[in-house]
Point group: C2
Chain length 135, copies 2
């Protein structure tokens, strides 16, 4: 099964403009064309795009995704390097999650201050009071 650019845009949540941009940027192999020059995306293209969108959502840069795509183009010989790239990225995602969780605790502390409840989470009792009021 193959798809037009509009169908792929629909399926991936990217715009047609962005799909062409990704192709230009070297993130995606140029798909086949039909008789009149329109792109026909394969299932494989779609899976690659789905992976790319998740990598983007987790903060991978275009340059890193291009690197990954280049390794894919080379072939199975690059499995190790691709794994390393993904392992690096995994670490970054894990760190980001940890950071967000810490920051979430601070946000919840601030909310509790504004709520006027005195049931401040015990874990926060030692926090340097952040700009409590500015009355």
């Amino acid at each position: 099964m193959e798809y037009t650019i509009a169908e792929v845009a629909d399926q991936t949540g990217l715009t047609a403009h962005t799909l062409r941009y990704y192709e230009r940027a070297g993130l995606l192999d140029p798909p086949e064309r039909d008789w009149n020059g329109h792109r026909r995306y394969s299932e494989r293209d779609i899976s690659m795009l789905r992976l790319l969108t998740r990598l983007r959502a987790t903060g991978m840069t275009i340059a890193e995704m291009r690197r990954y795509a280049e390794l894919c183009r080379v072939g199975p010989a690059t499995f190790d390097e691709r794994r390393e790239l993904l392992e690096d990225h995994r670490r970054q995602v894990q760190q980001k999650i940890a950071e967000l969780q810490t920051d979430l605790a601070l946000i919840e502390y601030k909310i509790s201050v504004y709520t006027g409840a005195d049931d401040v989470p015990a874990a926060m009792s030692g926090l340097p009071a952040p700009d409590l009021a500015r009355p």
Copy 2:
């Protein structure tokens, strides 16, 4: 205790340029000046900056932070609105964490594929195989 812009830059990890930018952008009340016009940041300024950096790190935009700062300037009458703003942001952070955790599972699945181990996590067994090799 008061601090120079360089000391604050040091403490917050922001640059002096960025500190002036935040002030211009309305995120921070203009600090006091000493006799020769240099900024003297108070402890209160520092706490606000520390909060702002965590809000930035969790994806709050400059515009939203400005809104928060404006509410702070108005006074205690805006406690409710500040709480709502932070509650909205909390929801966004929670969603982002959830998304990252889902995406992390996909990344780990891909790593397992490249590792060649056949001990693919059971939870993943139903995944549409993402671009396994492109040989």
